[in-house]
């Protein structure tokens, strides 16, 4: 059997390739560029690469192409491109934060790693067989292990170690599950998993179960969530920003493709029930976990645990609209998170002061604009209007109700109520009249971070009034 690799195949992974190659360019430019500009050189080159990749992906989306490249290893289509765009946005939003943070001499390397990580995530978005999923995931994760450990803090190295060991363990489950799935279907292609005979095949069931363990770990669903607060806290700020969005987006893409396109018909409800239960638990535990946090990144980790629960609520039931609104909420979540991290970067110095919540005390007076932005993003995460978080929750609620998973909607509401309490504590600290707080002064002169915050702000509002949910995604999942 000979498979011809055509030009179309290469163009399918063009955005991914561009990102991967950009990483090399960044590394080379770092060697060549003078020391005092290499930080901005790296950021600018990376940004250009990402934007070019984004434009190409957008054109692919517009043209409506839909085919499996490399013998079905990578499926190009609306679904993959939408997720690619979200991942690219996450990467762009995180990379610009390097302008405010980090050591000069490692920035180029870090950005290169982040770009490779991005390309891994993008591969996951388009993965059509188990191998691409596995490799994309490993590419994403391996780069992130390194990125986590790059800051010169004990916590950073600790987070790298924790992430490495736990994530590898989860990868072990994932790959073992893949082996069982391969054993069940005799193929590594996702499309082959829809054979009706598999519905009663124990290998398939156990394989899917172990596969989901890996997925749930990456999505940091309870009880596979334990790594994320520690890792988020220890990792450098831009890495946390990136990780909080990109891993989730890529894993969600894999999960969505799996649940929409790789399950024998008729067993979806039963097969996926544990995931919905975990989503429900995550919504509660994630929001509850926020209540007693002292670190912004940790808080966002818990928040992310809950937000993934929201997104899964949209997917529950497997309706076409559910997928659209999951993507909508994912995009909203991306902007809200990136916005919050941009503000955190704004008030950070060399030692990431923006991460500790103690430093937000009295921010409302010292730096009203930053405080206002932070308030906005936190309230958006809580789902207050007029933000995309609000509309996203409405859409998720309506799909969950119409799909027969209203109990998830109710839990979503309960979780949101708890979350507001937690976000409110941060906001309260910002507007507290505490004259004696000894806190770090905001730098607030980082144009890129400002720009990032403003763009996120505008987009979060705009998405409320013009909900640009991708309309033609579902047919392209398969």
């Amino acid at each position: 059997m000979i498979v011809n690799v055509t030009n179309a195949d290469w163009s399918a992974i063009a955005p991914t390739s561009i990102v991967a190659v950009t990483a090399l360019v960044v590394l080379i430019a770092d060697l060549l560029a003078p020391k005092h500009i290499n930080r901005y050189a790296a950021i600018v080159i990376a940004s250009i690469g990402i934007i070019v990749a984004g434009v190409i992906a957008y054109n692919q989306f517009r043209s409506g192409v839909n085919y499996g490249a490399f013998g079905g290893a990578f499926i190009l289509g609306g679904f993959s491109t939408v997720f690619e765009e979200i991942i690219l946005i996450a990467a762009l939003g995180s990379i610009v934060l390097y302008s405010a943070i980090g050591r000069e001499d490692r920035i180029a390397g870090a950005i290169a790693l982040m770009l490779w990580s991005t390309s891994g995530a993008m591969l996951m978005a388009g993965a059509g067989n188990l191998m691409t999923i596995f490799l994309g995931l490993e590419l994403l994760s391996l780069a992130l292990y390194c990125l986590c450990g790059l800051a010169d803090r004990p916590t950073s190295r600790e987070s790298a170690l924790k992430y490495l060991i736990l994530s590898s363990m989860a990868s072990g489950f994932l790959v073992y599950g893949m082996a069982l799935l391969f054993g069940a279907s005799g193929s590594v292609a996702l499309a082959d998993l829809t054979q009706p005979a598999l519905a009663t095949n124990p290998l398939f069931w156990m394989g899917a179960g172990m596969f989901f363990v890996g997925i749930a770990f990456k999505l940091s669903l309870v009880p596979f969530h334990a790594w994320s607060p520690d890792v988020y806290e220890g990792a450098p700020l831009p890495v946390t920003a990136y990780m909080s969005v990109a891993t989730k987006a890529a894993t969600l893409a894999v999960f969505a493709r799996f649940m929409y396109a790789a399950i024998p018909s008729g067993i979806g409800d039963k097969l996926l029930l544990p995931i919905w239960i975990l989503a429900a638990i995550s919504m509660i535990v994630g929001n509850v976990g926020m209540l007693a946090q002292h670190d912004l990144k940790r808080l966002i980790a818990y928040s992310g645990i809950a937000q993934v629960g929201y997104i899964l609520t949209a997917l529950a039931g497997g309706t076409p609209l559910g997928l659209r609104y999951a993507i909508y909420y994912l995009a909203a979540y991306t902007f809200m998170n990136l916005g919050a991290f941009a503000v955190a970067a704004l008030i950070s110095g060399d030692r990431e002061e923006g991460s500790r919540l103690a430093n937000y005390r009295g921010l409302g007076r010292r730096h009203p604009a930053a405080a206002a932005f932070m308030t906005f993003f936190l309230l958006a995460m809580a789902g207050l209007p007029p933000t995309a978080g609000f509309l996203g929750k409405i859409l998720i609620l309506s799909t969950s109700v119409s799909a027969g998973y209203a109990w998830l909607g109710v839990i979503l509401i309960v979780g949101t109520a708890i979350s507001l309490y937690a976000y409110a504590k941060v906001i309260r600290a910002m507007y507290q009249r505490d004259e004696h707080a000894h806190v770090h002064e905001a730098k607030a002169n980082v144009p890129l971070a400002w720009a990032s915050a403003v763009v996120c702000f505008v987009l979060v509002i705009a998405m409320t009034f013009y909900p640009l949910t991708p309309s033609n995604v579902l047919p392209l999942v398969k």
Binding site: A73, L113, W116, L142, L150, D152
Partner: protein, 200 residues
Amino acid sequence: MAAFWILGITLIGSAIWCITNTKPVYSVVALLLNFAALAAMYLTLNAEFLAVIQMIVYSGAILILFLFVIALLSSGVTPFSVGPNKLPRIGIPAVVVLLIALGFLTYAVNRVTANAFANTSPTSPVGPVGTAGVFGSVADFGKALFTTYLLPFEITALVLMVAVIGVILLAGDQAPYVASQKQAEEVRREMREAILRGGE
């Protein structure tokens, strides 16, 4: 049949030896044994190329790396030791849980019958080990790798690149980045405090 059992017992035994040894070096040795047995088992399954790769990559590269690291970490004034166990009672529950998982996994999988695989059309026939063009041969493997599975193969390049660059960045300059002596002291104090506080 006999080979499977011998190799299987060797695999299990060496694996248990590996994780129970107090000295990491012995663990590496046990792992080496394990990998070798596994390679042999690959041979019985008509995967001679994988068996070779297993020996070269795992035994030749990865385990050597482990040994280097063990040597590196032990090279200080005192050999490295293990601190107080903060989770002393995790062993028994862990084993119980794992046995449950194992039980359910094997129970479930044992319900599959061999004829589930009967109605398949092989991509290449099974022949003697080492024969070109048959299932498991280098040619068979290579052809698949560079055609059907070209994309995964390409990605491995990136994976390795990440590993290289990542390790360089991680293990490179470890001096804390500080602008001044005063700041350096502050950083150290902060680190000390962070350690004492145990993370909030």
